[in-house]
């Protein structure tokens, strides 16, 4: 393995500053998408953005305190409101677009999406 491949995507795309830039773009996409925006109606935008940032940090392999159990607990109420695969796919699509817009190379985007995919069962409480 080359050294670059050992480093997390998080480090390779620039760590925290890159996440800060990505969260605005990503959260804006999520909020503008009628299919999923109602899951993000919390009026406290700062807190929502912080959660989005934690999510991005996790899927890029950065320092994250999320565990599978937290993911389940954190989404249970949304699953009760009808959160399903279609919504998960929509969020994953915005994630892909966000990283592409920010110029993240395709192989890294693919790795991030693989990590995101591995969280599907926990997010949808299956």
């Amino acid at each position: 393995m080359t050294e670059a491949a050992m480093k997390s995507v998080y480090e390779q795309i620039g760590g925290e500053p890159a996440m800060a830039a990505a969260v605005d773009v990503f959260y804006r996409k999520v909020l503008s998408d009628d299919r999923i925006s109602h899951f993000f109606e919390d009026v406290d935008m700062e807190r929502q953005a912080a959660k989005q940032k934690a999510f991005l940090t996790m899927v890029t392999g950065g320092p994250s305190r999320y565990s599978g159990r937290d993911m389940r607990a954190g989404h249970a109420h949304l699953v009760a409101q009808g959160l399903n695969d279609m919504h998960f796919d929509a969020v994953a699509g915005h994630l892909k677009e966000t990283l592409e817009e920010l110029g993240v190379p395709a192989p890294l985007v693919a790795r991030v999406l693989t990590i995101a995919e591995s969280a599907r069962a926990d997010v949808l409480n299956r």
Partner: protein, 334 residues
Amino acid sequence: MAKVKHESQWYPLEAGESVLDGLLRQGVSVPNSCRAGACQSCLMKAVRGTVPEAARVGLKDTLVAQGYFLACTCRPTEGAELEVAGAEDLRVPARITSLTMLSSDVLRVRLHADAPFEYRAGQYLSLVRGDGLARSYSLASLPHEGVLELHVRLIPGGEMSGWLATEARPGDAVHVQGPAGNCFYVPGRPEQPLLLAGAGTGLAPLYGIVRDALGAGHTGPIWLFHGARTPAGLYLRDALRELAERHPHFHYRPSVLTGGSRDVAEGALDVLIRAECPKPVGYRAWLCGDPQLVLSLRKKLFLSGLSLKDLHADSFLPSAPQVETTASSASGAR
């Protein structure tokens, strides 16, 4: 059961009750206003015992280090014993110097602080009457002006605004406490476009911030949107027009929901903002006033490209829950 000791007497708290509610229920007078951890009127000092983290959110480090906390957001854990004292030593004595109507329902209150009161243009303070009644108001003045100026909306049945409008006289003694709030101009990036928007007395902090930015030599375009229901609700129009004449990069846009004219736009504030500033990417923005308006504007501006870190919003919380139900939803404490 948690207990609170105040002036050598112990008061039991009901399960989940805040220190503020518990003390008020048992007849102790504690200044308070928003009861939501925002106005800091209910500041108290913990003399002994532990205070939950939530009761210190938003307080300056220097206050936290001295044991201060907010009584309205302080819900001690079961069995906790807490000894508290009031925040009298943080209050600055002040005198009312003038009371002038700016419009049919906005009163300009000018105060002179009898001790140094440091703040940044756009922050707010708690005004405390002799009997402890407290309300928070945004400052419309600039620190170097040596006068504290508040724009007080007259609320039907409002205790503080009613007192100020009918009984208070220049020379009356009050106290001010604070300041608080994160809506202020920070020098730097002088070429960045600025966008300020607010309705009603939400203009007060914006008036301070605009003049602060101009005074600091801000060179980028500055947009100020002031909304009201009708033209009678707009105030300081002449002063703002004059300011715009002196500073060509400052644009003042008054707007009303009904009764527009050649000089005053008619329509919803967000529509007007979108027409004048269609792509606010890279702007810095301040939003003040009615919470619903502030929240919806914030979301719209974010979606149209403003970065969350450049969006500063202070909504005016109702002074207390009971006022919220009796007055119109737009009633604000500031």
